[in-house]
Each structure stands twice: as C-alpha cells, then as structure tokens.
Symmetry: C3
Subunit: 347 residues, 3 copies
C-alpha cells in the first residue's frame, strides 16, 4: 500500500487523457470529490445536468465538464477540464487516485492446494484459500482470503477474486474478471423432474464460462449448465445479488443491476441494460440493446431493441387499494365500456 499522497497538476491530467484546460494548468490536484464536497485541491465533474447549479458554488479546484458547457462561473470559478464524455474522463482520473492494494505474488502458507492444480508463479493466493483438483490459476491473478476454487475451474490472467468468492465446479473465468465477495459461480442448476410422488435431481453436467473483463457482484449466483454451459460473453457487468440460472447466455457489454434474476436457458443480447430487481422467465430470447426497467417481469421474448416495463406506479396506499381492487375486475370494466359505447351508438 502506498501511503505517499498521489498528486498531479491539471496539465498532467489533461495531457494524460487528452482534455482541454480552461483555467490554471499548474494547479495541483491530490484527490477527487463531488461538486458539493470537493476541496480546492480536488477535482470533480459535471455529467448530469441536474447538478449544474452546483458548478458556480463548488469549492472544487477543478471540474471536468462536457464540451459545449456554457455555465458562466463566478470570480472563484474552478478550472475546467473539457471532455467529450465527462463521466468517462472522470472515471479515468479517479483511477489515478485509487490506491488499491497490490498483493505480492505467491501462495499464502495457510492455503490448501490440490496436487493436480496449477498456479502461475505470478499469481497471488490469499490466506485460507482452497484450490481443488485440476484447477488452474493464471498469470497475475489475485485471490483474496477464503476463496474457494473447485475442481476443473480456471481463473484467467489478471482476474481478481475478492475474499470469499466461490467457484464450485467447472467454472472458467476469462482475463481481468472481477468476482466480488460472497459470489457463488458454478453451483448446481435447479433441475428437477417429478417422479410420480417426489422430485428427482437432474444432474448438472455443464459448467460456467465467463468472458474477459466481466464483473460479478457480491453474493451474486451463477449456476452451471445442465448439459451445456452457462455463458457470459466479454464485458458483462453484474451488480450484487443477481441470480443467473443454468444455461443462460448473456451477450457482451450487457449490464444488470442488483437483485435481477434470469431463469434457465434464457438468452440475453448484447448491450442490454437490465434494471434492478427485474425478472426474466426461462427459455426466452432478448434482442440486443434492450432496456428493462427496474422490477419489471419479462414473460415473453423481446425481438426489438427498445425500453420495456411492467408494474404500476407507487401511490398512497389509501388510493392504491381502491385502484388495485378495480384491477381485479378490469376485464369486466372493459366489457362494460364496450357495451356502453355500443349502447350509445344504438340510441
């Protein structure tokens, strides 16, 4: 861990990321902050128009703004760095100040590694990790404490598993994959057949394949496939507590917010955005560039890009109860309206 403070001039930052400076390029920046809270030695950003009013009053030393920003500053206005996409530029600048730990390579003496497992010399294996038969950990991969790598799993180069990540069986991670704490990849899919009076288990013989640059949130679960694999293409981003059932396929660059759930064998396209708590039932196909809003339930395939929703709006329970009661008779209501219309026409 570095303890020396990280410092850059505005000019250094601008050069590194190809940004235009309006103001004082010699200003020294030692951190990042929100418009509301950043200090004179910190840099902030304006990406969302509703925070524009904070631009004039911010005490940030510098602010990343969008090309074409027209706000007029006061006398104490901060220095601007002008970017085509201020949020992207800020993400890169903030990374300069992210003093992440860089564990040294090697296997902690408390870790337990099967004889048939292969661990790259440049990988870092934390305390109490367990790595089982035929598992592979590639160059530069980092496993935090208490990680479990089950049989026939592979952790790709430069991937990082946070403490207590679990790969159960036949899970293959690409390069630079992040898996957060408590995530469980490669548990049995939920496959059951009802045999006259009890359930029998359908063996789950497939695995899980995770593409390069994916991120898997804390306590998210991704089951392994029944016969073929559950697959995430590259750069899929999953938030916390998401459930991905067996044989799901998720296309590249799709991002899914917390607590969403995808049932078995559904295929989600590329560049989709799935809102928090949304559900998609099994055996469906979702096209590329589909957005599903929060807590919507998808019960049929979606063939066209676009935004889709279900549900009803929040309102005072007193009013909601009356409306909800009417919903139970909505079909009858619609028939009455049709009758009224007809009756009226016949007058």
């Amino acid at each position: 861990m570095s303890t020396a403070p990280t410092r850059f001039t505005v000019a250094e930052i601008a050069n590194r990321f190809g940004l235009e400076v309006r103001g004082d390029p010699s200003l020294v920046i030692s951190g990042v902050g929100t418009l509301a809270a950043a200090q004179p030695d910190q840099i902030s950003f304006l990406a969302n128009a509703r925070y524009r009013s904070q631009l004039a009053t911010s005490t940030a030393g510098a602010v990343v703004v969008r090309k074409g920003e027209t706000a007029t500053g006061s006398g104490s206005a901060p220095t601007w760095l002008v970017a085509a996409d201020p949020y992207v530029a800020f993400a890169r600048i903030a990374a300069l100040f992210d003093r992440g730990s860089a564990p040294s390579p090697g296997v902690h003496p408390s870790a337990i590694i099967a004889a048939t497992a292969r661990i790259a010399d440049s990988a870092s294996i934390g305390p109490f990790c367990v790595i089982e038969e035929r598992a592979i950990v590639e160059d530069g991969a980092e496993l935090g404490a208490h990680c479990h790598i089950g049989p026939d799993c592979r952790v790709g180069a430069q991937s990082r598993l946070y403490p207590r990540a679990t790969l159960v069986t036949r899970v293959c991670l690409g390069k630079r994959v992040l898996v957060h704490s408590g995530a469980v990849l490669g548990a049995d899919g939920f496959g059951l057949a009802f045999d006259s009076d009890h359930w029998i288990k359908v063996p789950q013989l497939g695995g899980v394949r995770i593409g390069d640059d994916c991120e898997i949130g804390a306590n998210t679960t991704i089951d392994r496939g029944a016969l073929e694999d559950t697959v995430l293409e590259e750069d899929v981003r999953l938030d916390n507590q998401i459930q991905v059932a067996h044989n799901v396929m998720i296309g590249a660059h799709t991002a899914i917010a917390g607590c969403a759930a995808i049932a078995g064998s559904t295929r989600i396209g590329r560049n989709c955005l799935i809102g928090g708590g949304a559900g998609i039932i099994g055996h469906l196909t979702i096209a590329d560039r589909v957005t599903i809003t929060a807590m919507s339930l998808v019960t049929h395939s979606i063939r066209e890009a676009g935004e889709y929703s279900s549900g009803t709006p929040i309102q005072e329970s007193r009013l909601w109860r009356r409306n909800a009661a009417r919903f139970k008779h909505l079909d009858e209501l619609a028939r009455n309206v049709a009758d009224n219309k007809k009756g009226h026409r016949n007058d």
Copy 2:
C-alpha cells in the same frame, strides 16, 4: 475421481430403467447432450413438444422419447428409448454419467472441531471447516471446505454441504439434504419490538428443522424461529437466493424458484410451486398444490389449489407509461363507467 470414461450400451440403459428400445440396442453410449448438440455416442431426450422438430435432425445416437411419440425419423434417425416420462428417465440416465467426487471419509487436519461435537467415522469433513459445541455429523455426511456448523446443529446421514455452507445455531438437517454454497441456515429471525424511540431485539429461541431429501440453493437464507422452529418437511426444493423467514413452515415436495421470499410465520402447503421472485407476506396459509407465478405477491391466504398471479404484462415503456398513469385513477374510471351506464339506462 474416476477418469476412465463411463460407457453403457443402449440395452444396458434400457434394462436398468425399464425402457423399450426402438433401434439398435448394441449402440454404445458414453455421454448425454441436448438434441441440438449431442453426438452419435451420446443420448438425448425429447420432453418438451417445442423441440420436436429437432428430432429428425439431431445427431444424437439415441433419444429418450415419450410413449406414443409419432414423429417419423429419417434414414439416419437415432435409436429411441421409449419412456412414460422422458424427463424423469433422462434424469436417471444422466446420473450414470455424473462423475461426482466422492471424498474419502475423515476429518481434514485443518478443520476445527469442538470437543463436545460428534462426527461419524464415515463422514467427510473438508478443509477449514469449523464445528461447534454439541454439533452432530452423521454417517456418510460430506462437508465441503469452509463449512460452518454452529452449536447444537445436526447434519443428517448422507447429507452434503457444499463449500461455505453455514448452519448458525440449532439447525437440524434430515438425511440426504443438499445445502449449496453460501446458504445460511439458522441465523436470527428478524424480530424487533419498538420501544417508544428505538428498536429492541426479540430473542430468537427456536431452531430450523429441514426434512429428508431437501435441497437448499446457493446463498439462500432460512432463519431460525422465535419461539418454535422454522420447518421444511421432506423433499422441499429451494433454488438460489430464497429468503425463508422465522417460523415459516413449508410442506413436503414444494419447490420454490430463485429469489422468492416468504415472510414470518407463513405456512405453505405440500406440492406447491412458487415462481421466481414471488413474495408471500407473513402469517398466511397457502393450501396444498398451489402454484404462484413468477414475481407475484401473495397478500392473503389461499385456501384452494390452483394457479395465482399478480402484476402487469411487460410492454414498451412508451405505452406502459400511459397505462400506468391511468392505473393511478382506475377507481375514478370505474365510477365514471358505472355513471355512464346508469346515465345511458336512464335515457
């Protein structure tokens, strides 16, 4: 782990499971696959009518079909094994090819076992397991790495806990129970009393009882009871990330899909099917053989078997917004319709 390939002739498979053969009984089968992907030395199955068109083109060597299947094969048609329930038959056949690990009995030297705990000689306890006071692990039970068995817990014979399963306090598992990674059984129920200006905790003095042949999914949570136990009868099947609150009772053979949540003291009948993401509020009674569709919310007891739903259908957000806005005034709309009707009658 067996590394020798598993092989059976069609005749051997048919004999073992009482299936009728149409085609070549001497064909050697060395694995299972989907109709779309199975190879000539593999066996597949047709259980869902919408995949019937794949029967003619499948390169599978053999296919399990339903009695009465009438599809006419081509010249290269695979051998059929005819079953009353092809999915059940396939589940059993697939189990022949499931080369699961069979850990040897014994306690890994890194495990920490309380002096008052009792571990059967035939049980297998993995690395870094912790087994606390008065816990019991019975014959043939398997605990993967990092499992935690808290005080006064019991793991029944032949049960299997995957790595990182946690039984907190007073959890009793029957025989042949499966608990997947990250599941937490026996944490405190969420019992609080508001004492004028702050919450006080209601002690959770009960336990959790899980019947024989139950399965508990990854990262699922089952809280222990406040005064009596939280109970799952035999052969209850829970998928991943399900929440079962304190004092819930779930009847035998009920299956619950991922991310469903059952609030405190609710009683669910036998042979129910609860869809993914469904919610059931507390203190309700749900009859036997009730199906709840995905993401429905149950707010009153259900006395009759049948299928129940709530929610609204997914549609383009542009259209959905208009309809959702109208929902907020549905009661008024219904009153207007009633008035119109009345007005019309009075003409």
Copy 3:
C-alpha cells in the same frame, strides 16, 4: 454456555420490568412459548388481537397482556403480567432465557492478523478470521469463525459478527452492531461509464459507515461509496438479502424487511418501514416515517410521511390473465370512457 436451567418467579420478572401481576406471583417460570404451545412453567404473551381466543385455552403458566385487557379467564386461567406494550415486555423477558454463547476474549490461534491491525484485549476473534492492514477491533467485539475484516475497517465496541461476515474495505461499524453470516459490507459500488464500445470501471473511493445499534441480516450487501460514504445512522435494522447500493443514506430507526433493494445515492429518512422485496430507484429522497408495502417500487421521491404501495392484487391466474391483458390498453380504455361520457352528455 450455561447448562443450568434459568428460572425466575413471576414476581421477580414483574419487578425487573415494572409489570403488574394478576394471579400467582410465586409461580416459577423456566421458559417462554407461544400461547398455543407454552407449558405451565412457561410464559407467553398476547400482543395481536387475533390470537385473543387462545388466551382462555392456553396452558401457559403466565401471559403478558396489554393494560386494559378484558378477556375473562376460565378456572385454569394463567397468571397475567400487565404491560403497556406486551410485545416489548415479552422481548425483554425472553432475553432472560436466551442462553447465548459468550466466547472468552482472545484471538484464536488459527486467525491471521496483519501487523498493523489493532485488536482490543477484550475482543474475541474466532477460528480462521483474517484481519487486514490497519483494521481495528474494539473492546468486547466478537468475531465468529471465518470473518474477514479488510483494510482500514473498524469494528466498534461490543459489536458482534456472526461466522462468515465480511467487511471488504473502509467499513466502519459503530458500537453494538450485529452483522449476520454471509453479509458483505464495503464491496465496490456498481459504478460504470460506457466508453464508446465497452464499460470502464469508476473507482469506488468511499467507505461504509454503520451507526451504533444497527443490525445487518444474513447475506445482505452494502456497497461502499464512490466518492463519499454509504451511511446507516444509528439503530437501522436490515433483514436478510437486502441490497444497499453505493452512497445510500438511511436514517436512524428505519427497519427494512428481507430482499428489499435501494439503488445508488438514495436518501431514506428516519423511522421508515420498508417492506420485503420493495425497491427504491436511485437519487431519490424519502421523507421520515414513510412506510413502503412489500414489493412496491418507488420511482420518485416521497416528501410526506405515510404509507405507499404499487402492484396489483393476487388472483387466480385465469382471471388475472384477462385483467392483465386489458392493462396493456388501459389508456385507450380511459379515452373511450371519456368519449362515451361526452357522447352521452351530447345526447
């Protein structure tokens, strides 16, 4: 662990908690139970009017009732303890019988503690705990087995972490905080910027601050902030499997039921009650004393105290399907009603 049975007379209990006795003050009580199941040496309570009919038939030796309770007992009626709030009184009485483990202070020899971490002498650190750089564990704190305390975290005095609780990075717990098994606090917030054709990660430089007397349920996740901290004020109570995204703020005494999810930067007031499975989208403000019913989705800020809901009622799927189909055309229906009304007026 105490193995001697805990016993109190009714008079002792009444004195301790300031309750009035009606009946036999010398009765010896050795446990607690429900009205339906309590034995003659146990005490029960009546807080919910719908259980009043059980009062006459209960075999409990004593029952805590509300001041003004008018039920007339039979000859064998139990002794009453009269309380202003029977549930609060019962919670306190039950705590007398909660024989919780009290681990002895000290660090288990299998735990791994960074040289720069500071552990109070009176703290108890369980087997296989890992405590990283600059972490602090204060007086009387208890860490169960397999807990992970990441860099720059602090566990406040008398806090208790159950087995397998995880504090990832920069998490500060107040005093007397409970964290249940599988909870993950301080993982990266889900911050992403889309850089023309792929996601880049927005560094999450903030932490998590949890106030005194909070409780965090099993497998709940609380992400750390992007620039500032994610904050729970004192006495916030979170059930299991709740997702709290980065930069959320939750006011004191708010209680949230299982599986609810709060998206990034939302501020929830004090003394709110959020139902199970409810969702609140990002960047909203929720006033004090707001109740959200189960599985409702909040999509705009709520400025007034009160109870709010969304969704539709559960009904038989056969009927629900018809109503749901009509919902897709509700706007059109409303227009027709308006037209009918107008047409009718013009008759």
